[in-house]
């Protein structure tokens, strides 16, 4: 009997609380702009999703009165049954006027949600719906020109590798990941052949794809396993192309076993911190400035649909208020190589050096760029295959 009374009281209280809570949840919002952020991975992944999360916090700091609501791990493996339109409804319910979706995986869902909420603004990161004309008018795309970041990272790898063996830990295969892997390759090859004067045949660049942006046990290949495998087969530098930090962690473990190996993580400015002595550097995204600009345009009504590919501020690539991508030099990069790297960055910035210059061939031998031809933005964005000289699957 005691149990029954207690249970009844418990449920009655619960019901009362729910009723009281509803207005508290929905009614207390005085912020000028509430924006919702869908993060594909954990907000603290030391990688891709954390970079976006920090970008959102930057907006809150720059635009007083703005407020971020985020949901992380937005993928059906982590949250069974979840769909993008459903979580977008959730954010709109909570007052979001701008929705940022940070994964290529959300492309179809973002488009569907944007058509369901024509009064809300949508920003899909890394997508091309605006370019292809598939985007409803309230959906924009934004991406950073990480190709430069990858070239710089590849360059650091090419300077450091002992025998000319550089590996790329790739996520899934699509246009974005192909062009980023290719950029890393071009940077590494440049360091090996031009700067170090080694013969091109002695250079190996291997790409292995795990199947998704991060490890899903039982579904993707295990990135730690893939990284170990690279080191076991003679590669001494790994460039990470995935959202999370496994390459650096494994490199650090192997160093403790006495191997001279290195890694370059990706995405997040603080990625090197988990193992500085194994880290050659990290190319990272700085989403804050673009997010702030777009958030402002929602507030003052000047929103325009756009596909934006934001580059670095070559004057100061690590300037938090102006550069969309940057590169932090890691503790493991030698002093001499740092000087080389700075000169390389200066040449990229001045336009003296453009690594997407022909002759370049696709992996199957067909022409990508003829001798002297410089790739257009579209040719880079829609890279159809890996480049000749890279090992690994193209599709």
């Amino acid at each position: 009997m005691r149990f029954r009374v207690r249970a009844f009281l418990g449920w009655a209280t619960l019901a009362a609380i729910c009723l009281l809570n509803v207005p508290a949840v929905f009614g207390s919002d005085k912020a000028e702009l509430t924006f919702g952020m869908l993060l594909v991975g954990p907000y603290n992944d030391h990688g891709w999703s954390q970079a976006h999360y920090e970008g959102g916090r930057y907006v809150e700091a720059k635009l007083p009165g703005s407020k971020m609501i985020y949901i992380d791990k937005v993928n059906p493996a982590d949250r069974p049954g979840l769909t993008i339109p459903a979580v977008v409804d959730e954010l709109v319910d909570k007052g979001a006027q701008l929705i940022i979706g940070n994964s290529d995986d959300m492309k179809d869902g973002m488009r569907e949600a944007a058509s369901q909420h024509p009064e809300i603004h949508f920003l899909h990161i890394s997508g091309d719906d605006v370019l292809t004309g598939n985007a409803p008018p309230n959906l924009s795309n934004l991406m950073g020109r990480m190709e430069y970041g990858k070239m710089i990272a590849g360059f650091a790898a090419g300077l450091t590798t002992k025998d000319g063996r550089v590996a790329y830990l790739g996520p899934l295969i699509n246009e974005e990941t192909r062009r980023l892997a290719a950029s890393a390759y071009l940077g590494a090859r440049h360091a090996w052949t031009v700067v170090r004067g080694m013969p091109a045949e002695t250079f190996k660049f291997r790409v292995s794809w795990i199947g998704f942006w991060f490890n899903i046990p039982g579904v993707t290949a295990d990135p730690s396993q893939v990284a170990r495998n690279f080191f076991d087969t003679g590669y001494d530098v790994i460039l990470s192309g995935i959202d999370t930090n496994e390459a650096l962690i494994v490199a650090n473990q192997q160093r403790k076993e006495g191997k001279a190996v290195y890694a370059l993580p990706y995405d997040f400015i603080g990625s090197c911190n988990s193992a500085p002595e194994a880290c050659l550097g990290v190319p990272y995204y700085n989403w804050g400035p673009d997010y702030t600009r777009i958030a402002k345009s929602v507030i003052n009504g000047s929103w325009n649909q756009a596909w934006t590919w934001s580059g670095p501020n070559w004057e100061a690539i690590n300037d938090a208020d102006s550069s969309a991508i940057g590169f932090i030099i890691g503790d493991a990069l030698s002093q001499a190589n740092r000087e080389q790297l700075k000169a390389f960055i200066a040449d990229l910035g001045s336009g003296k050096l453009n690594l997407f210059t022909g002759p370049l061939s696709y992996q199957d031998g067909s022409d990508y760029l003829k001798a002297g031809e410089i790739a257009t933005d579209r040719q880079v964005w829609y890279l159809k295959q890996l480049l000749q000289g890279m090992e690994g699957a193209s599709k």
Partner: protein, 344 residues
């Protein structure tokens, strides 16, 4: 009346164990249980759009649970329900792929759902056949087949069915809108899918409780040897039961593909197969509580997204509540059986 009272007492007892247990866990991590339960409730029943999403979970979960009921009636533990759901999704996706640009999308959709049910039931038949012909216990056969089903879906998504030029575990190319499960303008749940689930409930209620097949099935479940005396073949009944079970799970998989994700993804099952096992156990293997418990579980699943959003709590709390409920239910039912034994 006596019966109803007993069920009510059971339910209250279960909640009286599970409720404080979860509250204690929440208090241990420094969160207010009242807030958490409040968010769970308002996040699932707070608006029509939220409730529609609860229904979107409820439909496949109920279909799977109903299917399980047939198997349990015949005495079979159909753990393979998860794999049957997955294969159902594969069957539906396979037909939808062929039906792109077809003249009659509605026909394609119906065929696709049928194919889902068919593949689900074939997968279940395999487990039943292994049991009857090979002497493999259906729990092990089912678990094994679940892994194989996962392997098949991963292989399809990363191999023959991948998007052109792309190799990703994100899933296959989405189907064109004509091949989505029909919706009404402005609705977030398909009334037709809803009708399908309701029909399945009514038919199952009739078949299990009022048809000769249902009564025989029960007899087989209680004593497979004795029914031989009545000229019934227990094997036929076992196989029929597991086939129906697989068909309903396969249908659930078809709904997941055509009404929810509109493509095939590795996590297409959303774990509803395993979850439905918990639903049926919590229902003490009876039909009537199933729709309500499935609704409760669906609400927890949908409402739990509020926890990370509003309280920075992990949404796995929903799973903890579900697990706690089932464990307390098993405890309550077990104690009642013990008491009955002592009384009798």
């Amino acid at each position: 009346m006596q019966n109803l009272k007993q069920h009510l007492i059971d339910t209250l007892l279960i909640l009286a164990i599970a409720g404080p247990f979860t509250s204690l866990l929440l208090a241990l991590v420094g969160a207010s249980p009242a807030d958490a339960f409040g968010h769970l409730f308002s996040g699932s029943f707070g608006s029509w759009s939220k409730f529609s999403r609860v229904l979107n979970v409820w439909i496949p979960l109920t279909l799977c649970s109903l299917g399980l009921l047939y198997a349990f009636r015949s005495g079979l533990w159909n753990i393979g329900v998860e794999g049957q759901l997955v294969l159902g999704a594969v069957g539906t996706a396979g037909v939808l792929r062929l039906g792109v640009d077809a003249a009659s999308p509605l026909l394609v959709l119906m065929l696709a759902l049928l194919a889902g049910a068919l593949l689900g039931s074939l997968w279940a038949l395999l487990a039943g056949w292994l049991k009857i012909k090979g002497g493999v216990h259906e729990i092990f056969a089912g678990l094994g087949l679940n892994f194989v089903a996962m392997g098949i879906i991963l292989w399809l998504i990363f191999g023959p069915w991948k998007r052109p030029g792309i190799a990703s575990m994100s899933g296959t190319e989405p189907f064109p809108r004509e091949l989505w499960f029909p919706m009404l303008e402005g609705w977030r749940v398909s009334p037709f899918a809803l009708a399908l689930a309701l029909a399945a409930i009514v038919i199952t209620a009739w078949v299990l409780n009022h048809s000769r097949f249902g009564l025989n099935l029960k007899a087989v479940g209680h004593n497979p040897r004795a029914v031989l005396l009545y000229g019934l073949s227990p094997q036929t009944y076992l196989l029929t039961a597991i086939i129906i079970s697989g068909a309903l799970a396969g249908l659930a998989g078809g709904v997941q593909v055509s009404a929810i994700y509109h493509r095939l993804i590795p996590a297409i099952s959303s774990g509803y197969g395993y979850l439905s096992l918990l639903v049926v156990m919590l229902a003490n293997f009876r039909l009537l509580p199933i729709p309500l418990i499935a609704l409760f579980f669906a609400a927890l699943n949908v409402g739990s997204i509020q926890l990370p959003m509003m309280m920075q709590l992990d949404s796995s709390l929903a799973g903890v509540i579900q697990g706690a409920c089932v464990l307390s239910a098993l405890l309550v039912f077990g104690l009642r059986r013990l008491k009955k034994g002592a009384d009798g």
